[in-house]
């Protein structure tokens, strides 16, 4: 008995362009450098940009360097913000003889009311005063232009702030009027105690078209890509303490990856997929994370639809630009600043034109020498972050007509929720999978 091939819907396709070249580190050479160069590159790029924006903002004011400040003289200075935080963990505290009983690192947030901001450029630094610039919003590493004047106390009293704002966006050329979907999922955490293999299998079956009637399968055929935004496996920490592993433990170590590969093979046989590394995946620690090695996926990597990507990940589908991370950048920002929700933090990073301003201060990153790859020079149409507590989304509008869909992708192992985005109109909805086996 053959299934009638004429009625079989064809999976839709989209043109794909990877823009991850910026996040590759193969060509980088480590000469023992520290992080001053990446900060300098960041300052240089952003300052050039801000200098071009200042005339439109306050053209009557002179621009000067920090050392060139004169008391009482109103001017504009451009530099990198540094936030002095009382509660920020310091490595030397671990060795201090006066250690108290309380644990050194608070997991949630290191904010304190005594935190203050400092502006720094190559010539010097100056403490910032005034209420315009809230230390709870800003973090170390953000480059801004400030309008104000030096006080007698030697502080710089801030009257106004100029952020870079949303970068320019390439106009979205609608290739076709048809619905095409991209599915986002993150935090599969295969191998952890909370992950339910049935749940992910359900997701796989759904998007590969194994479930439902013809109509359902027709909808599934409109999914053109699956993006897995990090933390796909969780390897038991007990096995990673540096001890030699017994042979029976060695298989435990690779079990989660094997399971993931099996599932990815099912997906790759059916539609294109991008897998990004996350903080718990077997990839390097510092950003930009390099793609998971193909040898980890002997089954799925043989498919041309399988693609192992960097974190952060930037790509274009039908000329729609996607940019996103597995969550480390946003989580770190949440530790060192305050926001109502994660979408606000996402929005801030776009306005600051920097994916991860806290890198390398509190977020591990590679010491680039000639560039800062996390600078956002072209506004994406879809900006996502993985491994968040819950699903959130918002459409952001820029001053120059930019339209960005912000998406917080929840952890699948905890929520069973994947996100479906229609690239025709940038609308989002969720796919929720539950597996309640009634007794």
């Amino acid at each position: 008995m053959e299934v009638d091939s004429q009625k079989q819907p064809q999976r839709k396709q989209s043109s794909y362009l990877s823009l991850d070249e910026n996040f590759e580190i193969q060509k980088e050479v480590y000469r023992g450098q520290q992080y001053s160069q990446i900060y300098f590159a960041r300052l240089h790029m952003m300052r050039t940009l801000l200098y071009s924006l200042v005339p439109n903002w306050k053209s009557h004011l002179p621009v000067c360097t920090v050392l060139g400040l004169e008391e009482g003289k109103e001017c504009i200075i451009v530099g990198t913000l540094y936030k002095h935080m009382k509660l920020k963990p310091c490595i030397l505290d671990e060795y201090s003889k006066e250690r108290s009983v309380t644990p050194l690192v608070k997991p949630h947030n290191f904010m304190h009311q005594d935190d203050y901001l400092v502006l720094e450029d190559e010539s010097g630094r100056v403490k910032l005063g005034g209420t315009m610039l809230s230390p709870s919003v800003y973090v170390t590493g953000v480059v801004v232009a400030l309008h104000g004047k030096e006080t007698t106390a030697g502080d710089f009293f801030v009257e106004d702030v100029l952020e870079a704002g949303l970068p320019p966006q390439i106009e979205r050329l609608l290739k076709s009027r048809e619905d095409k979907y991209v599915v986002f999922v993150s935090g599969l955490s295969i191998g952890s105690s909370c992950s339910n293999p049935l749940q992910f299998q359900l997701l796989v079956d759904h998007i590969t078209g194994h479930l439902g009637d013809e109509e359902e399968q027709g909808l599934a055929a409109e999914i053109v890509r699956l993006v897995i935004a990090g933390n796909s496996v969780e390897i038991s920490r007990g096995l990673l303490n540096g001890q030699n592993l017994a042979s029976k433990d060695q298989s435990r170590l690779s079990e989660p990856i094997k399971e993931l590969d099996i599932l990815l093979t099912q997906i790759a046989a059916s539609l294109p997929l991008d897998i990004m590394p996350g903080s718990s995946d077997p990839a390097n620690f510092s950003l930009p994370q390099q793609p998971l090695n193909r040898c980890l996926f002997p089954g799925s990597a043989t498919y041309n639809t399988f693609r192992s990507c960097n974190n952060p990940h930037c790509f274009e589908l039908d000329n729609i630009r996607f940019l996103g991370t597995s969550g480390q950048n946003i989580d770190d920002l949440a530790k060192y600043s305050e926001a109502e929700n994660k979408l606000d933090i996402l929005e801030r990073t776009l306005r600051w034109r920097h994916l991860a301003p806290t890198a390398p201060n509190t977020l591990g990153c590679y010491p680039f020498t000639d560039r800062d790859p996390f600078l956002i020079d072209s506004c994406p149409h879809v900006y996502f972050v993985g491994n968040q507590e819950k699903y959130e989304t918002r459409m952001l509008e820029g001053l120059e007509g930019q339209l960005v869909r912000l998406i917080c992708i929840p952890r699948f192992c905890e929520t069973g929720v994947a996100v479906m985005l229609n690239i025709r109109n940038l609308e989002c909805h969720t796919l929720t999978f539950g597996t309640q086996i009634s007794s």
Binding site: V3, P9, T208, E214, S247, L271, C295, G299, T305
Partner: protein, 396 residues
Amino acid sequence: MFCGISASFVKRNVDGTAARVAAAQPNSVGISGLSKHNSAEGNAPLPLQQNKVLQSSSKVAQQSPSVVKDVKSESVGGGVHGLSSKPSADKEKIPSLPSNKMKGQNDKNSAGSGGSLANLWVRASTKPKPSGVPETDSDSVQNPNVSADAQICAREAVEDDNSDVDAQEVNFTRASNGESYRKRRVVFDFSDEDEYEDAVNLASPDPPKKKSSLDSKQNSKSVVPEMSNLILDKPNKDEIRVKEERTTKEEETLLVSKSTNGGHSSSVKFENQLPDTDLSSKDKVTDAARNSPKRRKVLKTRIDERGREVNEVVWEGEETEVKNVESDMPKKMESGTTNADTNIVTNTNNRPAAAKKSPAVGRSAPSNPGGKAGNKKAGNAKDPKQGNILSFFKRA
């Protein structure tokens, strides 16, 4: 339910050639996201189809979730693995299926395939580097058709690292004991040294060669026969080589302290402890050392031309060793020469050209703590060769 979506653009790389994942058999049941029936390129997608059938049929006959999962994972694995084998037209392929895994597919599975995906992993962890040597040992045990499989194994091991053929049920114990298991070695290409002159070598060092051995038990065993050979040599050579060994040894441990402590090591400690630990582990070295004229180690501190504090351990009469324990911790360590007899120790720069007399020093030394950690518990701060970082913060 069968998969109702066809995706003709999906291609699978089989043995280096991209093959469209197509349906070859007309009487196959169910399409699982594969291309249309009338595709001419049939490259063994059958098992995948069949396993999808198995998958969907097992779904229909609903059982407990764990069973479903097991069947699915195995069948998927089997199917995938089947895909990794050669096309069905290849007569050489012998279907050596572990029968317990592929029960329902014998009639349909004419394109021979190996075990499940899990075996693919087992194979990947136990098979040696593709060197063209057929694994006749492992094959002969489980597979009566040794020669053909061995050939295929060898060929495919060379051609395609991703896929695997006829993976057998190999134990992990075999991996550690078997002769076919070889330690993976990292090969460094130093061909463009000029461009990367000042690049820091972040890679793990090679394990130490026999000549420059560490004071761990396993190495001492390999050293001993070596040393016995040396003893038989002329005394002059013996002495020189022993000296070299010793200085090498000490340089290594110095490097250990350097790289792990970041410059805050207490060099005085070394002076006292080095000779002891040195001599205790290697009897032959001790003998050889006693044969040489008695020397005494003296620690001298001076400032070199670059403003760095240099601690020298000087042997009375013969060579000097330079320990660059710097107080200001410059990021790049360069070799400083004192006199012609000096053994130069370079610290973080582990290039082979840097160390004059003991080329293996730079690469072998940092593995010392790794070796130690393997023998002792991890995080042991009482390693006598390294200064304790806590000593920097004096206790009240």
